[in-house]
Amino acid sequence: MSVKYTKDHEYVRAEGDVYVIGVSKHAAEQLGDVVFVELPDAGKTFTKGEDMAVVESVKAASDVYAPISGEIVEVNAAIVDEPAKVNEDPEGAAWFVKIKASDQSEIDGLMDEAAYATFAAEA
């Protein structure tokens, strides 16, 4: 599968049997310079829509919601040390967490790239 997006501007990308999650490029641009990131501990489980992480920029502080339910298997500590990475490569090197999904069907409810592009342009 390719990248999928939520209305709250998180993305989900399959990587082997886990899903890589972060904030979209559009979201990173809207936030402005990111100055702080807080990530959950690996091993924690979240249900879809729960507050999972926090991202703070010079303009605003925002919650990052779990786009799908599951268990955190890995977090990207590099963006905690260097929040600037979120602006540089949000959908690449600056991923937030990797989740082992507990309900694969939740992925289907998310937007594909084209639908998200339209959504972001309207918002």
Partner: protein, 526 residues
């Protein structure tokens, strides 16, 4: 040269020269002030005390034998340091302070005169009750008028700021839920997306989980979405009215009824009370708890580092949980009920949530607030609310020519704009705000509320005259025109005339320098 009607020059027409930097770094009589640690000398001291001789050393060998590391300054050095710093501070006494959601109104000098009466200003909080009957009476009278203005049966006077009042109210809600045996079940608090950040923070501090309620297209709470979110796990809702979009929540009664029907409580954030004081009684709207920012609504503007005060009114349902201490009047005497046990003895409240502050509250603010109320009177307070709303709508209607209001229709006490008018200009909200500084105006609230893109929230308050508002609007309209004309560079470079140019906010947030270190200690560390 630009002259006014009397032939006096109003603007310098001196040719702009690229003046060389001054040798001292000072600009005219604006002194470039160093940190106090850099002004002082560690060996020095501003006071000359004789060395104590004799006496018994009771420190048991724990005497300090190294330098304490405080800068020593003489009295004139200290005085100048702080006065120079204060001259760099902008204040409501210098010009408009249009911060939305902050109600930076003029603080009448009469308030200051009354607050400085030694019977109030020199009072020690441990003064015996018999010697401070007047001060206790003042607290009692202020409490009476706050209850009267809000239509609520009880008020906790001790909270020392808006957020502290929120804490008081939410703790009372928690205590009431515990008394009902439902604290374990009711764990969610609802707050609109446009809420002040302190609302969810307070709820979390009290152990609740916060769920955001979306706004509808008119910028108000989406009643249908609220009802969907209500259930027997909801402790209550926190709503600001008028809200942070400067709009009156028209469905407020329906909101209160729905929350009460679901078994929850209604916390109202009273930060914007100035818009409705004397016009609407929150008690009539179904409010269970609301803090009143004395330092906004009843003058003594904050923002200059001054104190806050957040008395919190409580409904019949929450009144028994009000914190101690409070003033009690019996047999012609005022007394302070200081403990839960004492409260029980008075038969007033055995369920008090306890003590929130060391003493009885913010006496200086109480005095100013009561002086404000007494000098305005009932009609004057209502008039102030009307004028505040009128001023905001005047600003809204004038700025509409060039700027884009976030919502249609009239506003209450503050006018909210989005950055639509800056679209494709390359100028952003922050650049616009920085350019305002060059024009002599403190920027409005920026990027809040978050529900509006690139928000600019202007609250002129009733203090500003039409002339002042016209000057303010002219300046903003000129800036908006300049932005649309494509003069991006001027905005990106602003402020040009401030003591400091554009600061790197990102670097400051990412790598904050929070502590001064002497050169010697830096060298030692290296």
């Amino acid at each position: 040269m630009t002259m006014n009607a009397q032939g006096r020059p109003t603007r310098s027409d001196a040719p702009t020269v690229n003046a060389a930097p001054t040798f001292t770094g000072n600009k005219a009589l604006q002194i470039e002030e160093a940190l106090i640690f850099e002004v002082g000398h560690f060996a020095g001291t501003g006071v000359d005390l004789p060395e104590p001789n004799g006496g018994v050393d009771r420190l048991g060998g724990l005497n300090r034998n190294t330098d304490i590391g405080l800068p020593g300054l003489s009295e004139p050095e200290t005085m100048r340091h702080f006065v120079r710093l204060s001259q760099k501070n902008y204040a409501i006494d210098m010009g408009p302070f249009p911060l939305g959601s902050c109600t930076m109104k003029h603080n009448p000098r009469l308030n200051e005169k009354i607050a400085r009466l030694p019977g109030f200003s020199d009072l020690h909080p441990l003064t015996p009750e018999a010697q401070c009957q007047g001060a206790l009476e003042l607290i009692d009278q202020l409490a009476f008028w706050l209850k009267e203005l809000t239509g609520m049966p009880a008020v906790a006077m001790s909270p020392k700021a808006g957020a502290h009042g929120e804490l008081c109210g939410m703790m009372a809600i928690k205590a009431a839920l515990e008394a009902r045996g439902e604290a374990g079940k009711r764990t969610r608090v609802l707050a609109p997306e446009s809420a002040h950040g302190t609302n969810p923070a307070t709820a979390v501090q009290c152990g609740f989980i916060v769920d955001a309620i979306p706004a509808d297209k008119t910028g108000r709470v989406d009643l249908a979405a609220l009802k969907e979110n209500l259930g027997d796990d909801v402790a209550g809702i926190m709503v600001t009215n008028p809200n942070t979009c400067g709009l009156f929540e028209r469905d407020i009664r329906a909101i209160a009824d729905a929350v009460h029907e679901a078994g929850g409580y209604f916390y109202c954030d009273g930060a914007n009370f100035n818009a409705i004081a004397g016009k609407v009684k929150p008690g009539d709207l179904g409010v269970d708890a609301m803090h009143i920012n004395l330092h906004k609504t009843f003058s003594t503007p904050h923002g200059g580092g001054g104190p806050g005060s957040g008395p919190t009114v409580l409904s019949e349902a929450l009144a028994p949980y009000a914190p101690v201490p409070y003033v009690h009047f019996e047999d012609g005497k005022f007394s302070l009920v200081e403990t839960r046990r004492a409260a029980k003895a008075e038969g007033e409240s055995a369920k008090s949530l306890g003590r929130l502050t060391a003493f009885h509250g913010q006496m200086g603010m109480f005095t100013r607030a009561l002086a404000y109320m007494m000098s305005h009177g009932r009609d004057g307070i209502a008039q102030a609310a009307e004028d505040a709303v009128l001023n905001a709508n005047y600003v809204l209607s004038r700025l509409k020519e060039e700027m884009t209001p976030a919502f249609d229709g009239y506003c209450m006490h503050e006018a909210l704009f989005d950055d639509g008018f800056l679209k494709d200009t390359g100028v952003e909200t922050i650049d616009f705000a920085k350019a305002m500084i060059d024009e002599g105006y403190h920027p409005m609230t920026m990027y809040f509320p978050l529900v509006v893109h690139g928000a600019m929230l202007i609250e002129p308050t009733e203090s500003e005259s039409k002339r002042e508002l016209d000057q303010f609007c002219e300046a903003l309209l000129s800036l908006a025109k300049r932005a649309k004309a494509g003069d991006v560079d001027a905005f990106k470079a602003a402020p040009l005339h401030a003591p400091r140019r554009r600061l790197d906010e990102t670097a400051a947030a990412r790598k904050p320098v929070l502590r001064w270190t002497s050169e010697s200690s830096v060298q030692a560390a290296e």
